[in-house]
């Protein structure tokens, strides 16, 4: 199983994400934002947290138009897995691979703390290692995590069971307490909290490993 982790100018969770994929058993290749294609045989693309291009214009907006972005879109269109965390989630909404937008936190402050999340669906390669309703603890570290979507799309996300994670205590004003959403084919996941920051007990928790193990387990069967 091969995972590609993309680095943009300003990414700062790219190495953590690579380490998490490796710990779960993946072979990891690092990809630069100016690359125009993904390496052969990539099963999952990881879009890391941090910042990208100073988050000028809007968070993730410039990254979503960078050369590698079209290769990621093509990978998703082929049914490939994509995982976008924090800034990576913002990039995925800006590319249109996921619906909605991430706005400034309702309280206007940067939030950096560990939060409790409810696994809102177990029906995805990312979450099938948990039972629906399981509670996990992941850190959040963001200024723009206030998930916003029009009423019609929100109704659709709920009807199609595409909310992957919900905050138990909403920190940022996100609609319907949404912390992470899935694409229509359930193979693209974007979430604001950082599972890659809790993959080893020395980090203060290992709940995040559940996500990487589920994903790698699913790909091993494929």
């Amino acid at each position: 199983m091969k995972a590609a982790v993309i680095t943009f100018p300003g990414s700062n969770c790219d190495r953590d994400l690579a380490v998490a994929f490796e710990a779960a058993g993946a072979e990891v290749v690092r990809v630069w934002h100016k690359d125009t294609s993904l390496p052969e045989g990539v099963d999952v693309v990881g879009i890391p947290g941090g910042f990208s291009f100073g988050d000028y214009l809007r968070c993730g907006a410039i990254a979503a138009r960078s050369p590698i972005a079209s290769a990621v879109a093509a990978h998703a269109a082929r049914g490939g897995f994509v995982l976008g965390i924090c800034n990576g989630f913002q990039v995925l909404t800006e590319t249109g691979l996921l619906p909605g937008a991430l706005m400034r936190n309702a309280g206007l402050k940067f939030i950096c703390k560990t939060v409790e999340l409810e696994v809102a669906t177990a029906d995805s390669a990312f979450t099938d290692g948990w039972a629906k309703g399981a509670v996990v603890r992941f850190p959040v570290a963001h200024h723009d995590g206030n998930y916003t979507v029009d009423a019609e799309t929100l109704a659709r996300l709920r009807a199609e069971d595409r909310v992957a994670f919900r905050y138990r205590a909403n920190p940022n004003g996100a609609m319907d307490d949404i912390a992470g959403v899935l694409s229509e084919n359930r193979r693209v996941l974007g979430l604001m909290p950082h599972p890659e920051r809790v993959v080893d007990p020395v980090q203060g928790g290992s709940d995040g490993m559940g996500l990487f193990r589920s994903l790698l387990g699913r790909m091993a069967l494929a």
Binding site: T93, M103, R104, G107, L108, N146, T148, V149, G173
Partner: protein
């Protein structure tokens, strides 16, 4: 030719920054501010000579990059 693009949050999308500015204005004693919406102005210098073509091109830029039409609306002014 210059173009000026105004990008604003759509009506009905909560603008936390505008709310904070409104609150601060109230604190400063400016009574009667009933609403504040904060947006962006983007100025472009264009090589195009034709007004209509320039406007069409800037609109395409707004759709593709300058505005996120999920949450934002825009207007284009050729000056």
């Amino acid at each position: 030719m210059k173009a000026r693009v105004h990008v604003m949050l759509k009506d009905g999308v909560l603008d936390p920054q505008g709310e904070a500015v409104k609150h601060a204005l109230g604190t400063l004693g400016f009574a009667g501010v009933e609403g504040v919406r904060q947006g962006k102005v983007i100025e472009l210098d264009l090589a195009a000579g034709d007004r209509a073509a320039a406007e069409a091109e800037v609109r395409a830029m707004c759709e593709k990059l300058l505005a996120n039409t999920v949450i934002e609306k825009y207007s284009v002014e050729i000056v």
